[in-house]
Every structure is written in structure tokens, then in C-alpha cells.
Symmetry: C2
Subunit: 388 residues, 2 copies
């Protein structure tokens, strides 16, 4: 894919761990423990759809010094030994009465103790992927060690992408831009939302995308009233406006952007709203530079859209971070003071409810550079395409 091969060299993971360990010293943590698919993948490279099975917990310990340790079910031994990690401990899972708890407690108790604090996925936009009853039992076993929220470290770490991570965002944004540009030739007046979504999915599969975890195909006369529910058996008739919002991955990294299509004809009001939102995207992209805040991105777009602080829409923000997950911190919101830094990948996502139940949302993806940003997606057309 444009000269990029799947998988990372060990040097990539070593650099991530070095950054993590520096942050852990500042946060006064002796270790981080991760349990969720994106964080385990970030630390180890382990990629598997087996996460779909909720039966077994998986743990990776990142100590403040030295190499990470995987504490995983026996069924994963070989897969974890195939990662860059050397230290893989296993137990025979499933074993509901003790699914890794005492094994993990032993590993954590034997770590060098400096701060007597271990960070876990307990905070904002993270999920602890293990039974909470087991987590509480485990914390009880760790006498003299405090279990605290490690999510600020995890997000600070993941928010700034490496050169290799950005390459992957370029690949998936390029493939998805190709697919969206082919859509006018594949959509037709009278097809259903569901058929439109399936057309996009098939097209993406043929282009070599790895996975398409998110497609929203939502329509309404002149605009749509929501943008999250799955596509329905609703016919795209004259005057319908369809949003196709897409989260697809290549080698683990997401694109998240949308395109809008009018069917048959578009009213002046719908056209005008589209053009206003398109201008807000331009202004948003121009506002992206190191040192700006996420709140300033919101402000720049909100001025074009004439939004007050309540936002005028139920979406609650005008874009967000992007990476191994469809959405990541920060949020482009009036109260998010996160400073943009080179390497952060962001969505620019203004939207307008120009009449009750008639929304128009546009979205592009950018990466923050030393002096501004690089557009990862190819911009949507300046005028809303009409499917004849």
C-alpha cells in the first residue's frame, strides 16, 4: 500500500515504551497495566479479532523500567511470543475462579517499588476489559500498592502519532477517498440506505481495506436527523440527502470522515447549508497548527456556523482525535484546552442543523505538522453531488 508494509519493527515499540516510561516517572507510576484491544495493540502489536470473545481477560504490564510482560491465556501464548515481547506468562483459561488474577498479582508484586502506584485504564474514554469483581480482588491482593487511573498517561502517549503511524493513516485515508470518489457512479436514485452502505463496504473490501467497523448511512429530505444508527431499508428518493460516515482501518489505523450525496435534486436551502459547512471545514483546517487548542478549532468553525456554546446540534463537538480507535481525545469543544502538537491526527467535523431534523455534517482528517497541518483525506466536492 504505497510502499507501506503491515506491521512495525521492534524499534517502533521500543520508542513507544521509552516515551511511556518517561511519562510514568512524571506521573509517579511503577507500572501501567493495559487490558483493552487498542492499548494492548499499541504496546505489543498484537492484532486479533479474537477480542470478540469476552470470555478471557488479557493483560500487558509496562513497568517503569525494562521490558513489558504479557500475562495472557494459554490460547494466546504463541501469538504473543510472535510479537516483540520476550516475557509471556500464561494460565489455563477460561478458569472463572481465577482468570489470571493471582498470576498478574504476582508479576506486579515483584516489580521494583518506587511510588507504590500502578496505573490502569480507569478514566476518560478507556474501558477496563476484565471483570470489575476480579479487578477489585486483584487490587486487594496488592498490599501496599495503590491502583490509580493511568488513562492520562495512555492518552498523552497515543495522542501524538509516530511517522509510521501517520503513514498508515495516509494509506487508509487514501483508500477511503478513492472509494468515496467512486460512489457517484455506484449510487442510484431509488436504492436503499442499506444498499448504499453495502456498496461502500464491498468497494472498500475490493480496495484492500482491512476492516470497516463503522458505516453510518443516514438520509432524510434535505438533510438527516441523526448520524449514528445503522442504515435502514429506507429508499433514497427525490430530494433525499444521504450522509455516508465511514470508519475503516488499514493495519489497525482508522480514517473517520464522511461524504454527502443528494438524490434527484437538492433544494437551495440544502445546497446552501452544504456550502456553509464546507467553508467551515476550510476554516477548521486553516486553524490547525501546533499550539492551538482543540477549543480554538471549535471556535473557528463555530464562527462560520454561527453556533452558540450549546452547539446547535446534539453531536456535542466539531471533531476529535483519531488513531487506533475511531474517536480518541481531544474533542473540538469550547471547554477542551488540549494543545495541538505535531503528530496529532484530528478530524475536522463541522455540522449544521439548518432546519429542525435537517442536519448536514462534513468531515476531513488532518495530521498536525510543524507549522500547520497536512490533509490526509481528499476534500469533499465544494458543491453537493447530486445522484441522478
Amino acid at each position: 500500500m504505497g510502499g507501506v508494509e503491515r506491521g512495525f519493527p521492534s524499534a517502533e515499540f521500543e520508542a513507544r515504551i521509552a516515551r511511556a516510561q518517561a511519562m510514568m516517572r512524571t506521573a509517579e507510576l511503577d507500572a501501567l497495566v493495559v487490558t483493552s484491544p487498542p492499548n494492548v495493540r499499541y504496546v505489543t502489536g498484537f492484532a486479533s479479532e479474537f477480542w470478540e470473545s469476552p470470555t478471557r481477560p488479557w493483560f500487558v504490564v509496562v513497568p517503569a523500567e525494562g521490558q513489558p510482560v504479557a500475562v495472557v491465556p494459554e490460547i494466546g501464548r504463541e501469538s504473543f511470543l510472535a510479537t516483540w515481547l520476550d516475557d509471556v506468562r500464561t494460565w489455563p483459561a477460561p478458569r472463572p475462579e481465577d482468570d489470571g488474577v493471582t498470576l498478574l498479582a504476582g508479576v506486579l508484586q515483584n516489580l521494583p517499588r518506587r511510588f507504590a502506584r500502578i496505573g490502569w485504564e480507569l478514566g476518560r474514554e478507556t474501558v477496563l476489559r476484565m471483570p470489575i469483581t476480579d479487578f477489585n480482588r486483584l487490587c486487594g491482593l496488592l498490599r501496599g500498592i495503590e491502583c490509580v487511573d493511568g488513562s492520562p498517561v495512555l492518552w498523552a502517549l497515543r495522542m501524538v502519532k509516530s511517522r509510521r503511524e501517520i503513514e498508515r493513516h495516509r494509506v487508509i485515508c487514501g483508500l477511503a477517498s478513492d472509494a468515496f470518489e467512486a460512489m457517484p457512479g455506484r449510487l442510484a436514485l431509488g436504492m436503499t440506505e442499506r444498499a448504499a452502505a453495502n456498496t461502500l463496504r464491498l468497494d472498500l473490501a475490493e480496495r484492500g481495506v482491512d476492516a470497516v467497523p463503522f458505516v453510518a448511512a443516514c438520509s432524510g429530505l434535505g438533510g438527516y436527523s441523526q448520524i449514528i444508527a445503522g442504515s435502514r431499508e429506507v429508499v433514497l428518493g427525490d430530494g433525499a440527502v444521504l450522509i455516508m460516515d465511514l470508519g475503516a482501518t488499514w493495519d489497525g489505523y482508522f480514517c473517520d470522515f464522511d461524504r454527502n450525496f443528494a438524490f434527484g435534486s437538492a433544494t437551495d436551502a440544502a445546497r446552501h447549508a452544504y456550502e456553509t459547512v464546507w467553508r467551515a471545514v476550510s476554516v477548521g483546517i486553516e486553524a490547525v497548527r501546533p499550539g492551538a487548542t482543540a477549543a480554538e478549532l471549535w471556535g473557528a468553525m463555530a464562527a462560520v456556523l454561527d453556533l452558540d456554546e450549546a452547539g446547535g446540534m446534539d453531536v456535542g463537538r466539531l471533531g476529535h482525535g483519531l488513531g487506533l480507535q475511531l474517536t480518541e481525545p481531544p474533542s473540538n469543544r469550547p471547554d477542551d484546552a488540549t494543545l495541538l502538537m505535531p503528530g496529532m491526527v484530528m478530524t475536522i467535523e463541522p455540522g449544521l442543523e439548518y432546519a429542525p431534523g435537517k442536519m448536514l455534517v462534513l468531515e476531513e482528517n488532518v495530521v498536525v505538522t510543524e507549522d500547520g497541518c497536512e490533509l490526509l483525506t481528499r476534500r469533499a466536492p465544494e458543491v453537493m453531488p447530486v445522484i441522478g
Copy 2:
């Protein structure tokens, strides 16, 4: 799809809530709160890929009497009003300083208080999909109410499927059986694991499957050494045995079964192992009847496979429950005393490591009936197919 339409009538959800409420009285719970995609879908029917975004938590409260209450981000208001629920409360999310916590606490505090206990997704094979720091804060706000593990009730509820749920399992198992039976005509000596997996994915998409969250395509000479990692760029040469293990859904319900293919030629040892495992499947299916335990299913298959209690493989069990998730309780293991009941959907999944690093695993899906079981998948061939 065989006369089955997507979506459930309200009567289906009302019956689920009635069963839940009966179980909650026995478990002495005033309410259950669910936060995770399968449990929210089970209670409300809400289906959305927007779960991919970890930013916002979602809550559904099932009180011991009366109707469920959705406490969800504003972005989901319309989608939840489109479900069978009438009572939908929203807050402007994301709002990290209070993402639904005080709103939900208010709803819970106003419930009739009989046991002063509320059940949450805290136990076996469940995930609490909200920041644990928020959960702890919320439990602190609920003065006089104890937050306890509600997962035994949730699993007892979901483990037994309704007639309509079983219809959906039949649809997806039928579609996937069709796809697997077409594979010998689509696989070829010399293709890669990744190409084989993509071939299956595309075929399934064309047949109208909704999603394919899990495909493992793993190969090795005469057998494979693991069955969970994603497919690789490994060529399927002479003597390779490929397992394709598949978790696909239709209207939310999973199939989970596999097929094996030899490439070029198969050794006698590999053929023999396949046939042994195939016989173990037959014995496993025959052992399924109401009143048998999951442990007895394990025992019947283990006898054919000549396994000791350690299992001889790292998989840790010989099948499991199936439903809205790829794997659900119970586990076919020597220590799982769960009684089979009519309506339980199970996988029968014996496997053998007949030489170091050479595994063969076969899997079928069944539903427990009044006097035995009904096979949902069409059995794998009795002799391992060879791709020429």
C-alpha cells in the same frame, strides 16, 4: 432471509424484561444497569456501529418493576426514541467532567427501594463500558444503595434464547454454511492465508451477512499451532492444513464455526486426526439434551479425543454458548456444571493437537430442544477436503 425480517416486535422485549424482573426479585435487585453493546441491544434493540467510538458512555436502567429507562448522550436521543422504549433521558455529551453520572444517579435514586441493591456488569464475561472512576463516583452518590454484580442475572437471561433469537441463529448459520460449502471452488493451492480470509469475507458480504467480526485463517504443515491470530501473508503450499474459523452475524446474532482444508495433499496422520475430531463432534452433538451439563459435553468429547483434564490443548474448553456475542457462557469444561436447557445455543468444538504444533479443530452450532438438539450448521465433510 428465509422469511425472517430484521428487528423484533415489542412483545419480544417485553418478554425479556418480564423474565429479567422475575430473576431480579430472586437475586434481590431493585434494578439492573447495562452499559455494553450486547446487553443494551438485548434490552432495547438499539443496534449501532457507533459503539466503536469510546468517547461517550450509554446506560439503560431495567427497574424491578415497570419499563426500562435509557440514559444516553444527546447524539443518541432519536435512535433510542425509535426503539420500544418510551423513557429516554439525555445529557449533552461529551462532557468529561460529568458524562451522565449525576443524571443516572438521579434516575437510580428515584427508583422504588426494596432491596437497596442495584446490579451492574461486574462479573464473568462482562465489561463495564464506562470509566471506572465515574462508576466509583456514581456508587458514592447512591447513598444507602449497594452496587453489586448483576452478571449472573444477565447471563441466566441471555443464555436461553427465544424462538425469534433462534430463527436468527438459523439464518446466519445457514448463510455461513453456504459460504463454507462454496470455499473449495474459491480456494487454490498457492494462495495466502490473507487471500483465503478475504475470499470468505467477500463471499459472505455478497450473501447478505450483516457483519463478519471474526475470521481466523491459520495454517501449518499437517495442522496449525494456534487459532486466534489474524491471517498472515503465508502461502498455502502442498501439505498445508488451513482452518477458517468464522464469527458472522445476521440481525445481531452470531454463528461461530470452522472448516478445515488441506492443500495439495494430506498425510495419513492429518486425515486420521481430522476423522477423530469429526467423530468427537458427532458424540458431542449426541450428548446435547436438556439436563446434561456443559461438563458432560466436555466429557463425551474428551473420551473420543483421549484428553486428560488439562485438555491437551491451550484452548481450554470444547465449545461454549453463542448468541449476541461470539462466545457466551457456559464453557464445555470439566468444571462447568451449567445445566443445558431448551433454547440454549451452543458450539460443539472438539480439537486435538495430534503432534507438537499440529492442531485440528472442528466446530458446529446447535440449539438445545425439548429432547435433544437441532443442528444449526450443516456438518463439515466427514473426510477433510483437499484443495488441488
